[in-house]
């Protein structure tokens, strides 16, 4: 859906770093290196980034097509 605001396990805020992560990975950087740069150390927080699927963009496209 959309990136969760906090890590499910430890509660650290992660959502504010997601857009930079996504942009840099799209530009060809390795996810592990980007996560290290962003200071995401624990594996509970790292999996939040790695397993994220942005379905909301697709849902919005469908709703725009349908009209209000």
């Amino acid at each position: 859906m959309i990136i969760p605001i906090r890590c499910f396990s430890c509660g650290a805020v992660i959502a504010d770093k997601y857009e930079e992560y996504k942009r840099r990975v799209k530009n060809g950087e390795h996810p592990a290196k980007v996560l290290d740069d962003l200071g995401i150390k624990r594996y509970c927080c790292r999996r939040m980034f790695l397993s994220q699927a942005d379905y909301l963009d697709e849902i919005i496209e469908i709703e725009e097509y349908k009209g209000p």
Binding site: I2, G11, A12, A15, D16, P68
Partner: protein
Amino acid sequence: MLDNIKILEKSNDHLIFILDNIDLYIANSIRRAIIAEIPTLAIEDVIFYENSSSIHDEFIALRLGLIPLIAKIDEFNFRDKCECNGKGCKSCTAYFKLEAEGPKTVYSHDLKVIEDDRVIVPKNIPIIKLGRKQRLVLEAEAILGRGKDHAKWQAGIAAYKYYPEIRINYERCTLCKNCIEECPRKVLKLEDDKIVLKDVIRCNLCKACEEACPEEALNLNGNEKKLIFKIEVINKSYKPEELFIKACEILKEKAQELKKKLY
């Protein structure tokens, strides 16, 4: 009791230090107090005037609640102990409003505080994405709470581990360096023909070095009386060292309350 506190790492949002000569149960009660007892401010009630986005109201309200609001905590009262008797007033509540129309991403800094210099909303946390002609209008109220009521009020993360201590029998050690190579985190180093534990923070006491030693000359153990304590801030109203002190104060208050009830 606390003879020796040595700081290993310190920054604005985290703190790692050694607590020497401490009992485990005290360290654990401090850890639990940091996670569950320290008051912070978070959004509790949300009134929706318009929501034509692709996400339903409850989901947005939860996401708003999870934003860690930076506030002067001392200037707020708990709502159930406030003179307004739980109705909600300026001394126990912070008010917010949000108005947005797509296409855009709504960030936490689009949430506006209504005439209150006690509260700052952190920046750049995406709340929701809006498509074309989708609108979101809402008002929100934030109140004080504790981590034990809901995770959105959690002020920080705290953890500790035993201090790793390495002992080597140099009569048997042949300096084969097996232990240095086998260590999964590479915390061991050879210095002047002696094997030393360089990075105590990263050593996780897995004992791979002990198993790798063919002469059984190496012994790695955690010292139960010496702890490495880590604090990380979630809600930036506090600094990491403030979290530790506040947790101690809360524990002290609780102990005094108990004493008063017993006598």
